[in-house]
């Protein structure tokens, strides 16, 4: 018996299903909007003072078959020594399609993100167009996750950054814990901005514990994450952001709490600190930040 993921099965569960399912079914689409705000303060930086970002993403999903996300945010970096602030617009358009596999029981997701960032400066990294595809697989028992992410970032003056970010995730403790490990391999970097390096490697570890909250005041999950190694110009496909403004990142630690305020409303609060290294002159500095988002579905 042919149990492989065939083209016909893909179509039977994917595209054709869209046409065959009753379009009028009220609950077929789920739409959510997530406004967010980030505030950060730089420590020990010679040029940077503070960071603020305000944005919103809107997502729409059709049953379990796929969906789209569009997002916009504005980032302001206040600088020292009379330097004018960096004022940046960030745009995101993302699409995803899910396929359900029987031979290897689970869900395959093909995703394509497109990012465009542009600010009021004129240096190489003040404008970028990014294309980032990702193929992921989540086992049906939700105990194993794999993805292969790729990003191509085209900056000004021919700066062309390539990123590979393979990921593995494990569901533990009957689904109450989730451990995710991701590696970032970034190449094509201008050595002048990374003290002679044309590529960087870093490693992210993220642990999430899910609670069974007895009231809305109790958090639904706690996430702790840590980054080691070095990375610059990274495209974070979880946060759906492009780190074009930062210097070389040499590590970070974050903690996040999520609350299910109601069936359709979720709050995420995150705090963390990231270490950076300026290259000219070589100096370490950090960014302490807080992030708050409110997700509402309807």
């Amino acid at each position: 018996m042919k149990k492989n993921l065939t083209l016909s099965s893909l179509f039977s569960t994917g595209l054709i299903a869209l046409a065959l399912s009753p379009a009028v079914y009220a609950d077929a689409w789920s739409v959510s909007a997530t406004p967010s705000i980030t505030q950060g303060a730089y420590g020990n930086s010679t040029t940077r003072n503070s960071l603020s970002d305000i944005g919103v993403t809107v997502s729409a999903d059709y049953l379990e078959q796929g969906g789209m996300t569009a997002g916009y945010s504005n980032t302001i970096v206040n600088r020292k020594n009379g330097l004018n602030s960096i004022d940046q617009n960030n745009m995101l358009l993302s699409g995803r399609m899910n396929f359900f596999t029987d031979a290897l029981p689970g869900k395959v997701t093909a995703r394509l993100d497109g990012y465009q960032v542009q600010n009021n400066q004129t240096d190489d990294t003040s404008k970028a167009d990014v294309i980032a595809p990702q193929f992921s697989w989540l086992s049906r028992d939700n105990k194993l996750y794999l993805d292969v992410g790729y990003a191509n970032s085209r900056y000004r003056n021919g700066l062309n950054i390539t990123q590979y970010s393979p990921t593995i995730g494990f569901g533990l403790n009957d689904g109450y814990d989730w451990l995710q490990l991701r590696s970032y391999q970034i190449s094509g970097i201008n050595p002048a901005s990374t003290a002679g390096k044309s590529s960087t490697a870093s490693f992210d570890a993220k642990w999430t514990h899910f609670f069974t909250p007895a009231s809305v005041l109790m958090p639904a999950s706690l996430t702790l994450s840590a980054v080691t190694g070095e990375k610059i110009y990274a495209v974070d496909m979880d946060a759906q952001s492009v780190a074009n403004l930062a210097d070389l990142s040499t590590g970070s630690a974050t903690a996040a709490l999520a609350w299910n305020v109601s069936k359709k409303t979720k709050v995420l609060l995150m705090a963390g600190q990231t270490q950076f290294r300026e290259t000219n002159p070589s100096k370490d500095y950090n960014l302490a930040f807080g992030y708050l988002s409110l997700s509402t579905a309807w």
């Binding site: 018996m1 065939t6 065959l20 009753p22 077929a28 359900f100």
Partner: protein, 207 residues
């Protein structure tokens, strides 16, 4: 002599023409019979193959799709099962069987929202249908939509007051919604219908 031979041949041909639909029917029935026997033996793959002689656009085409959908589901080939049930639904848009059938592979693939949708579509055709209510409740449990699950399970307990499963799902939903006293009452109702029920006993011992 030739005339007699001609008459005999003509009658033979006529007889054959009369019998042929019965022969075909007998052949098809043997295909169904073989398929049922192979299913009973757990040979789902061969039970599907046994249906190959059933005409794709014949009188039994819809039943062929429904049966193949069921057998593919048993085989764990959920995408093929979904495809067959969709074909059956295309042939007969009023088929509760097709809408209920497709819910099974969707639940197996944890496509909770799609499963709930098809269970609700079955309920549109057949309100209060037990299987549709049960499968909608299962999908809602998978989604973690405890409010909807509570509502569906309540509807089951009203319509099918002797059913144990209805009260188990109602109790689970109440427990997840932190309605402890109502969860306790529902689990007690489970124990009345199924004395010694493990889940109900465990909850009542440690709510």
């Amino acid at each position: 002599m030739n005339r007699i031979k001609h008459v005999f041949l003509s009658r033979s041909v006529a007889l054959l023409l009369t019998l042929s639909p019965l022969m075909v029917q007998a052949e098809d029935n043997s295909a169904w019979s073989n398929s049922y026997q192979l299913e009973a033996a757990g040979q789902y793959d061969q039970a599907i193959t046994a249906l190959d002689s059933i005409k794709l656009n014949g009188a039994d085409a819809e039943l062929r799709n429904l049966r193949r959908g069921w057998l593919y589901y048993l085989l764990g080939s959920y995408n093929e099962s979904i495809r067959e049930y969709r074909y059956a639904n295309e042939r007969n848009a009023k088929s509760v069987d097709a809408r209920l059938g497709i819910v099974l592979p969707l639940l197996a693939q944890q496509r909770w929202r799609e499963a709930e949708m098809y269970a609700n579509l079955a309920l549109e055709l057949s309100p209060n249908n037990y299987t549709a209510l049960l499968r909608a409740t299962l999908a809602q449990e998978g989604l973690g939509d405890w409010e909807k699950m509570e509502k569906s399970a309540e509807q089951m307990t009203v319509t099918y007051p002797t059913d144990v499963s209805a009260f188990v799902y109602l109790a689970r939903a109440k427990a997840r919604l932190n309605k402890k006293s109502e969860a306790l009452a529902a689990y007690r109702a489970v124990l009345v219908r199924f004395p010694g029920h493990l889940e109900a006993t465990a909850y009542l011992e440690k709510p």
